[in-house]
Every structure is written in structure tokens, then in C-alpha cells.
Symmetry: C2
Subunit: 200 residues, 2 copies
Amino acid sequence: MFRIVNTKTGPGDMDQSTDIDIGSRLKAVRLAAKLSQRELARRAGVTNATISLIEANQMNPSVGALKRVLDGLPMSLAQFFALEDAPAASKPFYAADELVEVGKGKISYRQVGADLRSRALQILVERYAPGADTGRVMLRHAGEEGGVVVRGRLEVTVADQVRVLGPGDAYYFESDQPHRFRNIGPEPCELISACTPPTF
Amino acid sequence: MFRIVNTKTGPGDMDQSTDIDIGSRLKAVRLAAKLSQRELARRAGVTNATISLIEANQMNPSVGALKRVLDGLPMSLAQFFALEDAPAASKPFYAADELVEVGKGKISYRQVGADLRSRALQILVERYAPGADTGRVMLRHAGEEGGVVVRGRLEVTVADQVRVLGPGDAYYFESDQPHRFRNIGPEPCELISACTPPTF
DNA sequence: TTTTAGTGTTCACGATCCTGAACATTCTGC
DNA sequence: GCAGAATGTTCAGGATCGTGAACACTAAAA
């Protein structure tokens, strides 16, 4: 089975769905840290041969081995692969009326950018009409999320904690904790939120 | 060398610096997708034995193998490992005056939460005084970032593109592109931004 | 009950990783 | 020029991965 990336044809042109150019990536971060193969190998507790072979895409390292190597930089696996996910640059600017509405009813979620699949981050402008509620059944999904209230007041529930946030107040939690948002005031509430990975 | 995580002692108690509980994580995301080991194996093009052994932490899969498995879900490596980085829950709410100031001079960055090391996401309330400028030397770092302007106007430069954004307008780009922020108007500008991974 | 289809687990074996050591090359200092 | 130390590369071999096939179990259908 074909596994090794042929960097001679250009790492950007390869079939992304089957293989990854780990080698170039590792070399880039190693050089950014100004380390030699041997020095990184020493810190990571692997041999310099391993680093060499990985960078040359002449082997397919195990997750554990790659983690040990990255620990020597140091860098997390998530950070390392986050570099992989960055695709072709699309347009960087979005006018207020270009934001994509992905909510409905009393809750409006206006999303920055349309195609989420290739992104590490989902940014939303959320607007809760008076009485709007994400529901008694608490939401749960993987990842982390946070936000800042811009206008109005919002009751936020995270696990067993409840608090009413006003303009300038913020929240941040891991999304696998049950959570709920509710506008219990008389005026609409607006906030800007971000979460990773995108979960819509 | 010890490589396999003993899940019987509790995956949360293990030495995070050396090993990862890939097994539980994979099982969680597989079940979230409502797939059996065999069905996932079929989609991923691996054998069900591989899935079983990985989930039982009885082997240390290669990066390529894990990628093939995750492609079957589908989920990226970055997303998968982003789940790993989430540590113990801290307090989820932050009052406006609790945000940590990390900027200086004409630019104020007020950060949601203090300890970034363990987080996947950095959320900032940014405030640019009239004339404030991140500098002619363009910023560059790894990851992705985006934001929404709340008040005032801001000139944003990304690579060779320049645009002035007003309230409600947004931006999103990969951080390795050179970028610059500048308040060229007479009034202060405020925006809320997010980036991953945290880069301060 | 028996059959069929589904689940996850275990095992032998070929393929591959990863090491330890040698090799080739390029510097720097003398 | 020649030692010395640094760099990255290559190779044999033991350790491990990943497969293909069998196994044990459960649930639903005949």
C-alpha cells in the first residue's frame, strides 16, 4: 500500500485524503525552534535516525513516537496537526450582511464564513430575542467554547453553575459540560462567541 | 519501553506527558457517530481488529493508520487531538473587570481567562485607541484567527488585501499570513477576536 | 430451536517501525 | 592542510504494528 509522500512532486499537490506531509511540517517546526535533528532527538528521547526518517517521509511514525518528538519542542499534537488543516486561503473579510445565518426562531446565529469543514474555529454573532432559550435539554458536544456579551443580558448555565452576564462579561468552558443559554430580560441580547472544533 | 495506557487505573490519572488515552477518545467519537467497529473499519479501509486494538489501547497506531480511521468518521487529526488538550474545568464565568489585560499602550487586549497553556482557544476583547497600530512589521504565527468589530472602525491588512471594517463586520484568516491592524479613525475601536492555538 | 446477522475480542504472521551504529559531508579552529 | 565536532543519511535487526481469519457472544428472524 502506498503510504509515503513523494515530496519531489510538491507536498501541496498530493492526495490529502490519504496521506500527510508530516516530514516537511516537522522539519519546519524543528528549524523554527532552532534545533538540530540530534538535539531534538536527545530532548525527545528518540534516536536521530528516527527524526531523519520522519522528516524524509520515509516512515510513518506511530502516534506515540510523534508525540514524544513534539514533546521535545515542545508542541502538542493538536497544535501540530492544526497546521495541516489550514487549506487554501479564502477571502479574509466579511461584511456584516455577509455573515451566514445558521440559527432560527428567537435565536439568531450569524456565522463568519460559510464552509466550516476546513476550519479550526467557528465564530458566531449570536442574538437572543427576549425569552429565547437553547432548551431545558442541556447541550453537549466535544471541544471548547467561549464568548463575550456585547449587548443585553443573558443567563448562562454550565454544569451546576448559573450566572447572568451583561455587556463585557465573558464565559469559557469545555463543551462536553452540559450548558444552556437563556435571555430572561426584556431586551434582545447580543454576544460574540467562538468554539473549536466547529460543531454545526 | 512502556507505551500502553492502563485504562483500568483511570485514563485521567495517567502521565499525560508520556502517553495518551487514544482508545477511549476514539471509542467516544465512534459511538458519537453511531458506528460499529466493523462499519467504521469498512469506511476507513482498515480491519475491525485494528479498531478494536486501538480502542483497547493495546497498540500504538501509526499516524497514517489513525488518519485513515478518522477519515471514516470523518474527523481531522487536529480535531481529534484538540479533545486531548482539554484539561480540568476551571470557572466558566468572567466579569468584565476580571478580564486579564495583556496589551499595552494604545492597544488593549483583555483576555478571557488567565492560564492559556491548557486551552485550545484564546478569546480577546481588543480596544484600539485612535492611531493605534500593530506595526509595519507584519505579524505572523501558526494557527487561525478571526473576529467581529463591535464599535468604531478598523483597517485590517491580510497579505496583500486591505479593508476597513465597521461594527458587525468580521474577518477570518490563517495566522501564517502576514497581517496588521490599524485604527485610522477618530474614535476608539473595539472588537472581539478568537484564535487557535493561543499564541501569546 | 435453529439460522442469520450483528457485536467486540483474540491470535499467527508478514510488514513496518525504531533503534544503535556506522557512514558521508560540512564546518570551525589550529 | 588536518583534527575535531557538528550536521544529516543509511543500514541490519529486534520490537511492534496491522492484517486476515477464527472465536465467543447477543439479538432478531425463520
